[in-house]
């Protein structure tokens, strides 16, 4: 018998449904991604999902809790995000390691769903890119489509050395070029000269990010996420990249490139919008999104890592509780009509 308390009526919602919608919104991105790089990404997703459930289940057992929490779908969303942010041909153990850090360290140690201060998937990414920088920047050369058997060999093989098959991402290439003192040309020329990169953000990749954008808009439309975070995220990134681009177009790429390359769309719609580790107040969400967009640009352009989404979001995760404290909206009876009196009545 359950605890009986008002209200006895309940709207048709559940955490499971929220998570399912997020997965559904990821689907277009996954499909385009698969078309681009092959089945490897599906294998990575399945791998991550399996281990995410395994780790979560083991931990729940260890704590003597019921396994019912496996059904909420949150571990699966985290697993998908890990698989989608890691290079598709990363070795299996790297994915599993990422999942371990995400599920056990970043999530379950804090008490599980709803209580983690950091985004688990981004912790996984950050840990792995700090510990295995080479493996984590081993992206398949654009346009190179490996047969399935070879992809499996790379993922599960004993000695997956595929340097020949991988290449730097456009973001990485630009940064490397900028860091070299001998670099004199403009980045536009660089990108064109390599012919690997597509029309505005690397061949094929812009379609993946566009698919993420479509999924993200679906989430906004379904009210699974609110507009504040993605809008602020994309706006701040547009503004800062526009400023830099206008100042020196030969050294900085245009806003469109930044919006559609790397993890921008995934970050703006799927990762920064994580309500658990993000801000909850409307103003707070704007600050959170804006800050994450800005930091992501700074780190990806000036910092030491190929993409800045993970670090910028973790950074904002750190700030989120404090932002929430200082952006509490006025409550009913504190704004219109009434003076803004201090709390502590009664």
């Amino acid at each position: 018998m359950n605890f009986i308390s008002p209200p006895y009526l309940h709207a048709e919602t559940s955490v499971r449904r929220v998570m399912n919608r997020v997965m559904l919104a990821l689907l277009p991105g996954i499909v385009v991604y698969t078309a681009l790089v092959g089945v490897a990404i599906i294998v990575q997703i399945l791998l991550a999902c399996f281990f995410a459930l395994l780790f979560e289940g083991l931990f729940q057992k260890l704590r003597g809790r019921s396994l019912a929490s496996l059904q909420d779908g949150s571990a699966l969303v985290t697993a998908c995000l890990i698989a989608l942010t890691f290079p598709p041909l990363s070795p299996w153990w790297l994915t599993v390691l990422g999942v371990f850090f995400a599920i056990v360290i970043a999530k379950q140690l804090y008490g599980g769903l709803g209580q983690n201060p950091f985004n688990p998937a981004m912790i996984a990414f950050a840990v792995c890119i700090v510990a295995f920088p080479a493996l984590m920047s081993q992206w398949p050369a654009q346009g190179l489509y490996l047969p399935l058997s070879q992809q499996m060999e790379v993922i599960f093989g004993v000695s997956p050395r595929i340097d020949a098959l991988t290449a730097a991402t456009p973001l990485d290439a630009i940064k490397t070029a900028l860091k070299m003192d001998s670099f004199t040309g403009s980045i536009q020329e660089l990108l064109k000269s390599q012919s690997l990169y597509g029309t505005f953000a690397g061949r094929g990749w812009e379609w993946v990010t566009t698919a993420y954008l479509v999924g993200g808009l679906f989430l906004v439309q379904r009210r699974v996420i609110t507009w504040q975070v993605p809008v602020a995220f994309l706006a701040s990134m547009t503004v800062i990249s526009l400023i830099c681009w206008l100042v020196d177009p030969t050294r900085f790429s245009d806003p469109l490139f930044h919006l559609f390359s790397g993890g921008t769309m995934l970050g703006a719609f799927f990762i920064a919008t994580d309500p658990v580790s993000g801000c909850a107040t409307p103003t707070g969400k704007l600050i959170f999104g804006g800050g994450a967009g800005l930091l992501a640009y700074l780190i990806r352009v000036f910092g030491g890592f190929p993409d800045g989404i993970a670090f910028s979001i973790l950074m904002m995760n750190i700030c989120a509780p404090l932002i929430d404290v200082y952006t509490q909206p006025a409550i009913f009876g504190m704004r219109r009509g009434g003076k803004k009196k201090e709390r502590e009545h009664e």
């Binding site: 006895y8 929490s69 008490g111 769903l113 709803g114 909850a280 909206p329 409550i331 009913f332 009434g338």
Partner: protein, 525 residues
């Protein structure tokens, strides 16, 4: 009708479920087998019983005297014999018993002689006294004594008559307005005159077109020009006082103030009717209209005597076989009754027969994911997920910082929560813990004051004794010096004797008590 309306943020639109019970007219419920009339039916102290077992009472006879200004009188709901004055289970979530008068009806339902007061020529104070003695309290559910709400009438501008009835299932005010609009308007007119307000706004949700029409017609029939009947958009909880005032006047009652601070006072339609009955007919509150609905064959509205056991009343609507409990009030804020035979009180606007199919038990509580749905639904614009976070961890100071005290427990947050968290229950828990802590703090402060005073007293006594001893010693020394030759032994011996005698008395008493206890022990065994 051409009134500019305002909006409040949040709110939800659950299915109304009003059609079931609104169709049939109000019928008088038959006399029950016995009546249990709780003496605690207002926000203040429980009334003091003025009848004893065996007394014959008439309908409307005074049986409970108000105890203090916040309390309200209680009357016999029918004629009959008092068969018990004892604690009985009351319709309260605590499941606690309260002193109640149990009446066995004689079947005649005979009124005591009624005499309407000449209220127009009475002072405000004596009118209010009369209302207190007539047991007029808010009929919306909270049971706040009406005379208290009328006492500070200075600088009031608007009177709001609340006919919103925003909770699903409930239709008693709807029927009341359709059938007794004239009386309600007359009662509102009396309140208006007592409070000397300029404008009367009657707010009714627009899902009750018949009630709006009836009230409109009654206003026109009475020729009242200060009245306006306003259809407010159907949005739960539009019937909350602060929300209704916002919708009707655009004013937001500040969190640390009452509506009267803005010059607005608010009464329920049922209360207006009670006022009219009390002052025009001299009738105290002995009955009320109750909606019987939920898992029943024949939902409807009944005029029930205060004190009617709920199971007897609900039987009129013929509950289905799988009924497993009663809810008093609506499905959003109603209270699960500790038992089915608790009595109907002045605040019982609706009884819902509960069944597992009608209100399925909530799925297990999941962790909060801070999705913010509750914050968007909250009509008080709070952050329920923050309140929950701190309430769950029992960090009540934090919960207070997030304005827990402004929560009206309307249940919107729990309604929309995807994690099925019983948020309202957490908030009630927190609130009562905070209240208890404040009470304990007060007790601790007074205990400290008494302790410090006792210590101060002890110090003073010690000082006085020391002084006395010193003086005595000095005197003794002087005496000794004077009578050095006389025998010094006798006096100290006398003192020792006195002490011994006292010891002996105590020892004897101890012995006596031991014997006594041994006797009682053996009796018990």
């Amino acid at each position: 009708m051409l009134q500019k309306l305002f909006k409040f943020k949040g709110g939800i639109k659950p299915a109304h479920h009003k059609a079931e019970s609104r169709g049939t007219p109000i019928a008088a419920a038959p006399l029950p087998g016995h009546l249990v009339i709780p003496l605690s039916q207002s926000a203040g102290e429980a009334a003091q019983p003025v009848v004893a077992v065996g007394d014959k009472v008439l309908k409307g006879q005074f049986i409970g005297k108000a105890e203090g200004w916040l309390s309200s009188a209680v009357h016999a709901s029918t004629s009959g014999t008092v068969i018990a004055v004892e604690p009985r289970l009351m319709p309260h979530p605590s499941g606690l018993a309260t002193l109640s008068v149990v009446i066995l009806p004689d079947g005649e339902d005979r009124w005591m002689p009624l005499q309407a007061p000449d209220y127009k020529n009475m002072s405000l104070k004596s009118v209010l006294q009369y209302l207190q003695d007539a047991g007029v309290v808010g009929m919306g559910g909270a049971g706040f004594p009406s005379h208290v709400k009328m006492q500070d009438s200075a600088a009031l501008g608007d009177l709001v008559i609340n006919g919103a009835e925003c909770e699903p299932y409930i239709t008693c005010d709807d029927r009341l307005m359709r059938e007794r609009a004239g009386e309600i308007i007359a009662g509102s007119g009396i309140i208006r005159d007592l409070l000397q307000v300029k404008r009367v706004l009657i707010g009714i949700e627009d899902n009750k077109p018949e009630a709006i029409a009836a009230m409109q017609a009654a206003v026109e029939a009475a020729g009242e020009t200060t009245f306006s009947v306003v259809a407010v958009p159907t949005l739960y909880p539009a019937g909350g006082i602060r929300q209704l005032i916002r919708v009707l006047t655009g004013k937001e009652v500040p969190v640390d103030q009452r509506s009267t601070d803005l010059g607005i006072q608010c009464f329920n339609v049922g209360t207006a009717l009670s006022v009219w009955r009390a002052l025009n007919l001299g009738e105290p509150v002995v009955s009320r209209v109750v909606t019987l609905t939920g898992n029943v064959e024949q939902p409807g509205n009944w005029e029930a005597l205060i004190g009617t056991p709920m199971n007897e009343l609900l039987a009129l609507a013929r509950p289905r076989a799988d009924t497993d409990g009663v809810i008093m009030g609506g499905p959003m804020m109603g209270i699960p009754m500790p038992a089915c035979d608790v009595p109907v009180t002045k605040g019982s606007n609706c009884l819902i027969a509960r069944s597992p199919t009608l209100f399925p038990p909530p799925p297990p509580e999941m962790p909060c994911i801070r999705c913010g749905a509750c914050a968007r639904a909250c009509p008080q614009e709070l952050q329920p997920f923050e309140l929950y976070w701190w309430s769950r961890a029992r960090q009540f100071d934090k919960a207070r910082e997030y304005h827990l005290s402004s929560c009206i427990e309307c249940g919107c947050c729990a309604y929309v929560c995807p994690a099925n968290i019983p948020l309202v229950q957490y908030f009630r828990f927190s609130k009562s813990e905070i209240r208890a802590a404040a009470r304990e703090q007060k007790m601790a402060d007074s205990a400290r004051a008494r302790f410090e005073f006792k210590q101060f007293r002890a110090e003073r006594e010690k000082a006085e004794k020391a002084e006395k001893l010193a003086r005595a010693a000095a005197a003794q020394a002087a005496k000794l010096a004077a009578e050095r030759d006389a025998a010094p032994e006798g006096e100290s011996g006398a003192v020792g004797d006195a002490a011994d005698a006292k010891q002996a008395v105590i020892a004897a008493a101890v012995e006596r008590a031991r014997v006594q206890r041994a006797e009682t022990d053996s009796r018990d065994a």
